[in-house]
């Protein structure tokens, strides 16, 4: 079927089976490999992207459900050379180990902060609990998110958000 959607601000049209998960469309049709495949069942969060401003598990989202929608992936979080404040925090805190889950972690955190610029520790933990990290970077993730959440009130740039 013909599917059109806006990905990181660009309108994309493709001819694809409607039940193809958004994940594989992003990765293999549009070349956006930053979004990862982890479980295929919405259990690990590695494939998290924003669809119409909501975090979704792209491995379990048929592309037909995203038709006409606005999708933001890790590649669309920065504003040109200006990284999203969370990406800067991730680098500053040295969060990634193997790094495979981190795109999904950052997308979940970005959604949290877009809707709740000053979350409590409990709110951060709750928002990040759907994203598994096998290396065990959880404490650095919290520290990185809190550093941005703290800085937000002083008006630092958040980059583009769907």
């Amino acid at each position: 079927m013909a599917v059109s959607l806006t990905v990181n601000g660009d309108e994309r049209s493709l001819d694809i089976e409607g039940d193809t998960p958004l994940l594989w469309v992003l990765r293999d049709e549009l070349g956006l490999k930053g979004t990862k495949f982890g479980c295929g069942a919405g259990l690990c969060g590695a494939c998290t992207v924003h669809l119409n401003g909501q975090p979704v598990r792209s491995c379990s989202t048929p592309v037909e459900m995203a038709a006409g929608g606005q999708v933001v992936t890790i590649e669309g979080l920065n504003d040109g050379d200006q990284l999203h404040a969370l990406q800067e925090a991730w680098i500053e805190h040295g969060v990634p180990q193997c790094g495979y889950c981190q795109s999904g972690q950052i997308m979940s955190a970005a959604h949290l902060l877009a809707n709740n610029p000053a979350p409590s520790r409990e709110e951060i933990v709750a928002a990040m609990t759907g994203n598994l990290c096998r290396c065990g970077t959880y404490s650095r993730i919290i520290a990185a998110v809190e550093s941005v959440a703290g800085a937000e009130s002083s008006g630092s740039s958040q980059g583009r958000e769907a």
């Binding site: 089976e17 039940d19 193809t20 998960p21 594989w24 990765r27 293999d28 070349g31 956006l32 490999k33 930053g34 979004t35 990862k36 495949f37 982890g38 479980c39 295929g40 069942a41 259990l43 690990c44 590695a46 992936t73 890790i74 590649e75 920065n78 990284l83 990406q87 991730w90 680098i91 500053e92 040295g94 969060v95 990634p96 180990q97 193997c98 790094g99 495979y100 889950c101 981190q102 795109s103 950052i106 933990v125 709750a126 990040m128 609990t129 759907g130 994203n131 598994l132 990290c133 096998r134 290396c135 065990g136 970077t137 959880y138 404490s139 650095r140 993730i141 919290i142």
Partner: protein, 734 residues
């Protein structure tokens, strides 16, 4: 530093005016080193390339799977080269004998050995290059080399004002010959080692631009999936090839050694076609065991065979005779999956006379052997391109996923990426072996007088040697592979290292006890196994440190004081034990509903003591706090040490709380994260990592955080409710 540099360093001018420094390790003298432009073959164990454009490239011979080699090893070479680590571009090494890990004589990353084995050679390589650059500059300026300084990628004139960038000196430096030994910088002059610095791969991994195996993209690439027998040993009898071949996008459906492959133009089409695939399996030679049978077979083996003696001191029999009490306990641990977040995958392209493979692998030279097995090619015809690894934990030391991709590509003739589903990754993993431990100890008047430990279970080398032995002899013809495997096993302990995978962590029992008897009853139920983050240490640590806790309880002594008394002869053990107890305020009261447990365990040369504070909330075990003291010798990057230890603790807690692969009539019962769960953010305990400031040579940190946390948690639960748990995973309602 009394090492003769000529034994392991050679410099040559390479293509495009760049300066190459290459090396082999001490003990490899006689191997030709350097770069041969005509063959494109590098001969170093690791190397630097400096270009006239002032670029510095570093070939990383130990893969990056999250453990930090990308930053850590680059830091070592940067320190002596006198350039900021951030200005060096690491590149993943191709397969070459000189990139082998000297401890294994294979090109593999594992065993928490990367920093320990690179510590001197990489610094020497950096120092050698720096010295030549300084000599070249001195020659240009007609001053003494000894009066010039190298700093931040430049050589500075004795006048302190003029300087030249390394790039300008490359062509001249390549002609310099360093005579005599080079002194490495003293610790007091280090700028990067031991200092808090960022991770060189953090940016790529925070922007989605780091390339993992699954991200490899090639022109004209297609996708493969493989259906494997649900029971190991099952064989394909028949399948509905015609029906599946007619499905949209499907290019081919065919049998390979490990099952039936479906190749399609898109991954999702391959998966949908696989759903329609109906395979008639022949299970006549297949495994039909259930988990209970495995442990029954272990108990029968343990009864029949006391096992090979692995360590014997004094007389345990006499100690039992003389003691006033004998304590016995049996411990059991299940099979464990690796659950790397990046599922197994590999991309291969067969081009008639050669094959190119792109893969996240911990052992690229074994990957060549695996690909050779599946094709008409020899290992020399196979090029392995290593990517970032989305987790390793030992899983990617076994190359079955490369063998499979090679088999699919061999038939496809186009680049093909084979991706495993999470369910396939879980069910067709090679597991951390299930093990049984029989412990016995004698007490005499509250004193521990005898220690007996019978380890029951398989050895990993029995499974691993299949590809490892041929990889050590890449010139051997393929028909010899099976022979090499057998020879490798026969030579174990003579020509090759003894396989200590089952007994590591048990034979080094550190406590002062006069009579010690440690044995291994070797029995293998035929379930595939491989290395797993800390492997033998993970199961022996649980048995040893839980039993020590039992003995302290039987002797009526505080578990900390009991250990402290018996370890006073081991200063590094003692220090971490005392520090962890002090930091956790061991003697202080615990909040209601909580209890503390501790464990002390050395693995991979690193000393670790941990105190766990835990409780039971809403019918589930809850871990509140882990306090960990670690002595890993000299620290290269403090942040990475903290990360690895904390990550190891969470990895161990995941095993302690959830980890269990079970078999029912030969089929693995777990499949995805709902039935093989990993610890989540909300369960994370507060973790304090305390690092001993040490000038000893660096030891591993990737694995040593794992073993002690499992018994420390079990010991805390015993302190909480008086119920001793002797099998894993631990239960709230034991």
């Amino acid at each position: 530093m009394a090492m003769n540099r000529r034994n392991f360093l050679k410099v040559s001018a390479g293509a495009s005016g760049s300066l190459m420094v290459s090396m082999t390790l001490p003990g490899c003298a006689g191997i030709q080193t350097g770069y041969e432009p005509d063959t494109g073959e590098w001969r170093p164990d690791a190397w630097l390339e400096l270009t006239t454009d002032d670029e510095v490239f570093f070939t990383l011979a130990r893969v990056e799977m999250g453990q930090g080699t990308y930053t850590g090893l680059t830091t070592l070479i940067a320190e002596e080269l006198e350039i900021q680590p951030e200005r060096i571009t690491p590149r993943f090494a191709p397969v070459a004998p000189e990139y082998r890990n000297p401890l294994y004589k294979l090109q593999l990353t594992g065993g928490s050995t990367s920093v320990a084995t690179s510590w001197e050679p990489l610094r020497m390589a950096g120092a050698e290059a720096r010295q030549m650059l300084v000599m070249a500059a001195a020659r240009v300026w007609s001053v003494k080399a000894a009066e010039c300084q190298a700093s931040e990628g430049r050589v500075v004139h004795p006048n302190g004002i003029d300087s030249m960038a390394y790039g300008k000196l490359v062509a001249l430096a390549a002609k310099e010959v360093v005579r005599g030994d080079i002194a490495l910088k003293p610790r007091s002059e280090w700028k990067y080692i031991g200092k808090q610095r960022g991770k060189l791969d953090a940016r790529a991994k925070s922007t989605g631009t780091a390339v993992y195996g699954i991200d490899v993209d090639l022109p004209d690439m297609v996708y493969g999936v493989v259906s494997r027998p649900p029971r190991r040993g099952g064989r394909v009898r028949d399948f509905n090839a015609d029906q599946v071949r007619a499905m949209p996008g499907v290019l081919d459906v065919f049998e390979i050694e490990r099952g039936v492959a479906v190749v399609a133009d898109k991954y999702w089409r391959a998966r949908k076609a696989q759903d329609a695939l109906q395979i008639d399996w022949d299970f006549s030679d297949a495994v039909s065991l259930s988990t209970g049978d495995v442990f029954d077979s272990y108990r029968a083996a343990a009864d029949d065979d006391p096992g090979e003696s692995e360590r014997s001191e004094g007389s345990f029999a006499s100690a039992m005779e003389a003691g006033d009490r004998v304590i016995e306990a049996e411990y059991a641990q299940p099979y464990l999956a690796h659950a790397t977040l990046e599922p197994m995958n590999a991309t291969a392209w067969y081009r008639g006379d050669r094959m190119e493979v792109w893969a996240p692998t911990q052992a690229p030279d074994l990957g060549r052997v695996a690909a050779a097995r599946a094709t008409d090619l020899g290992p020399d015809d196979i090029i392995i391109n290593t990517t970032f690894l989305g987790g390793g934990f030992g899983r990617r030391l076994t190359q079955d996923y490369i063998e499979e991709a090679a088999a699919v590509a061999y038939r496809t003739g186009r680049p093909v990426k084979v991706i495993w589903s999470r369910e396939e990754d879980t069910r067709h993993d090679l597991y951390r072996p299930a093990m049984l431990h029989r412990m016995k100890a004698s007490l005499s008047g509250g004193e521990l007088t005898g220690w007996h430990h019978q380890i029951v279970g398989p050895q990993i080398l029995d499974w691993y040697v299949r590809n490892a032995a041929p990889a050590q002899y890449p010139w051997a013809p393929k028909f010899m592979y099976d022979t090499l495997g057998s020879v490798g096993l026969m030579a174990e302990g003579i020509a090759t290292p003894k396989d200590i995978s089952a007994i590591e962590g048990a034979i080094e029992y550190p406590y002062q006890v006069a009579n010690i008897d440690i044995r291994h009853t070797h029995t293998d139920p035929g379930i595939p196994i491989t290395w797993w983050r800390s492997v033998g240490y993970s199961h022996n640590g649980f048995a040893v440190e839980t039993f020590m806790d039992e003995l302290a309880h039987e002797a009526g002594e505080d578990p900390f004081q009991f250990r402290r008394r018996l370890i006073s002869h081991e200063p590094r053990h003692l220090e971490v034990l005392e520090r962890a107890a002090r930091l956790a305020d061991w003697q202080s009261p615990v909040p209601d509903g909580r209890a503390r447990g501790l464990a002390l365990f050395r693995s991979f040369g690193t000393y670790v003591a941990q105190v766990v504070e835990a409780g039971i909330e809403n019918g589930a075990v809850r871990v509140y706090r882990v306090t960990c003291s670690v002595d890993c010798g000299q620290v290269v990057n403090p942040r990475i040490v903290e990360d690895q230890i904390e990550g190891g603790i969470l990895f161990g807690l995941t095993a302690a709380l959830y980890g269990e692969i079970t078999l029912q009539d030969g089929e693995v019962q777990q499949s995805n994260f709902h039935d093989y769960p990993l610890m989540r953010q909300y369960e994370r305990p507060e973790v304090l990592v305390d690092i001993v400031d040490s000038t000893e040579a660096p030891t591993g940190v990737g694995e040593p955080g794992v073993p002690p946390v499992i018994p420390a948690l079990g010991n805390a639960l015993f302190a909480l409710n008086g119920k001793r748990q002797r099998s894993l995973p631990l239960k709230a309602n034991a």
